[in-house]
């Protein structure tokens, strides 16, 4: 039934799109219907141009997300072990977090050029703060009952952080990773738009500038698809890693 509704709703959206084109209410030159768009999408995928761009963007976003996740959690674990470090780092992280990745691109080009180093830096910088801040907060929020119980079982120091706090905080840590997944895609696309020579962001800009509008819509669809895929991936990994949590919260709700 749920599926059925989704089909109706997405079908309605497509119909609306087609109607907009038929009525010519918007300039048809700039607004191709679903038909030409899907054609361009198919041609781009088969021809390899869009497929390559999609692969490059996804690879950048994924690698950046992975790196930022590992780094963010590692630093958060350090700050969970050494509280002073957390008090020192948190305000700095809060200061850097709202900085738009795009703002860093022009200056970063100076130091890192236009190659993979630029992407690595921008993506890491954009994604690491949400991961770190969520992980740090989650590790700090582990209940005192759990911590005291762990102490009385003889867990201390790193043992306590890794074997008690980390598993307890994992479900919440994934919230940060999910936020970072969205940020990673934005950062990858933006950097490609501003400094790239390939990838979906570049394709978007390029096809808009050369007025190949169906190609631009196709790239937009792929960007949307990438977002859906990244979300699904993070959710799948979460389901694997914190299976017990998912199972428990579901049985609670029922």
């Amino acid at each position: 039934m749920h599926r059925f509704r989704a089909v109706i709703s997405i079908g309605g959206l497509l119909l609306l799109w087609q109607c907009l084109v038929w009525t010519q209410w918007v300039n048809p030159e700039y607004f191709p219907g679903p038909g030409p768009t899907l054609q361009a999408l198919w041609a781009g995928l088969v021809g390899g141009e869009l497929l390559r761009a999609l692969g490059q963007t996804l690879a950048r976003a994924l690698l950046g997300l992975l790196g930022a996740t590992l780094l963010g959690i590692a630093v958060a674990l350090l700050t969970a072990r050494y509280k002073l470090l957390k008090r020192a780092l948190d305000p700095v992280a809060e200061f850097f977090r709202p900085l738009p990745p795009a703002a860093l691109v022009p200056m970063a080009i100076f130091f890192l050029g236009l190659g993979p180093l630029l992407f690595a830096f921008i993506l890491l910088f954009a994604c690491v703060w949400p991961v770190y801040l969520n992980a740090g907060a989650a590790l700090a929020a582990v209940s005192t009952v759990q911590l005291r119980t762990a102490s009385s079982f003889g867990y201390a120091g790193w043992d306590r952080v890794l074997k008690v706090q980390l598993p307890a905080a994992l479900p919440e840590i994934f919230i940060g990773v999910r936020i970072a997944a969205g940020v990673a895609l934005i950062a990858a696309v933006v950097t490609e738009m501003l400094a790239g020579r390939d990838g979906l962001g570049y394709q978007l800009n390029e096809s808009a500038m050369t007025l190949r509008i169906p190609e631009m819509f196709a790239a937009l669809l792929l960007a949307m698809g990438s977002g859906l895929a990244l979300n699904a991936l993070v959710r799948a990994v979460r389901g694997r890693v914190v299976r017990w949590h998912v199972v428990m919260t579901q049985s609670n709700r029922a």
């Binding site: 020192a88 809060e94 200061f95 900085l99 795009a102 703002a103 200056m107 969205g182």
Partner: protein, 259 residues
């Protein structure tokens, strides 16, 4: 409410470690830059001087950016909160809207910049459109979640008070949703600022994003870094101000949840 009024010594003790870390990082930067002696790696002092020297340029550029963010946020809030409440309250509308929202939400907002450019050019309207689009989703989604998450008891109470549908929406549902909506607005503020700078860079005309691009094109690295510092400071200040506003407007909520 007294949290912001902590005595100087308490404040210093709380902020102490952060200040020490910050000082260490800045000192490290200054010393490295001096040791390198490379004009492409400006010292922290040079960046500060650039910040002071370019205040007359950076200030108005930032204000221009903030103006767009504020207009776009206001538009997004005024349209998306009522829409979210409707989608959350009216079952068939929700069934229709949910899949569409799920589909559109993961689209990275800067990706629509070229599309918007075709229709609205590169002026104010284009940038504000992109920012509205960005800010719309967090607000809409939180409004929907907020209204769906209100306690069923509230509904029953408003029924037994014989409130009309409209009265119930205005006096019960809206206030009950506000704390959740506020979270959405806070996320929207951060995202709006981020996309505003991006949109300015892609649709260059003015604003802080263009200032950054110009600094790069003319190899004024210290000036560019000064711009980045200014953006970070403004982003942080806007966020802090919003948190204060949130606490003040929703003090009744925080008072009952005992935080």
């Amino acid at each position: 409410m007294t949290a912001g009024m902590a005595s100087p010594t308490v404040l210093l003790r709380r902020a102490g470690p952060a200040l020490v870390l910050l000082a260490a990082v800045l000192l490290g930067w200054e010393l490295t830059a001096r040791a390198l002696g490379n004009p492409n790696v400006p010292t922290f002092g040079a960046v500060l001087r650039a910040l002071a020297g370019n205040a007359a340029v950076i200030g108005p550029a930032l204000l221009q950016t903030l103006r767009r963010v504020l207009i776009a946020l206001a538009l997004a809030i005024v349209t998306m909160v009522p829409l979210g409440i409707l989608i959350g309250r009216i079952r068939w509308l929700g069934d229709l809207a949910d899949p569409v929202i799920d589909l559109l939400r993961p689209l990275p907002p800067p990706a629509i910049v070229p599309l918007v450019m075709l229709f609205a050019g590169t002026g104010d309207a284009a940038k504000i459109t992109v920012i509205v689009y960005t800010a719309a989703f967090p607000i809409l989604i939180h409004a929907i979640d907020g209204i769906r998450g209100t306690h069923p008891l509230l509904h029953t109470v408003s029924r037994s008070l014989r409130l009309s549908r409209r009265e119930a929406l205005w006096h019960v549902d809206l206030p009950a949703t506000l704390p959740v909506v506020m979270t959405g607005i806070r996320l929207a503020v951060a995202a709006a600022l981020l996309v505003a700078v991006t949109a300015e860079m892609l649709l260059s005309s003015d604003g802080i994003g263009v200032y950054l691009l110009r600094s790069q094109e003319t190899f004024r690295i210290a000036d560019g870094l000064a711009g980045i510092v200014a953006i970070a400071a403004v982003g942080w200040a806007v966020n802090a101000a919003f948190l204060q506003l949130d606490r003040r407007l929703l003090h009744w909520h925080y008072a009952t949840t005992a935080e």
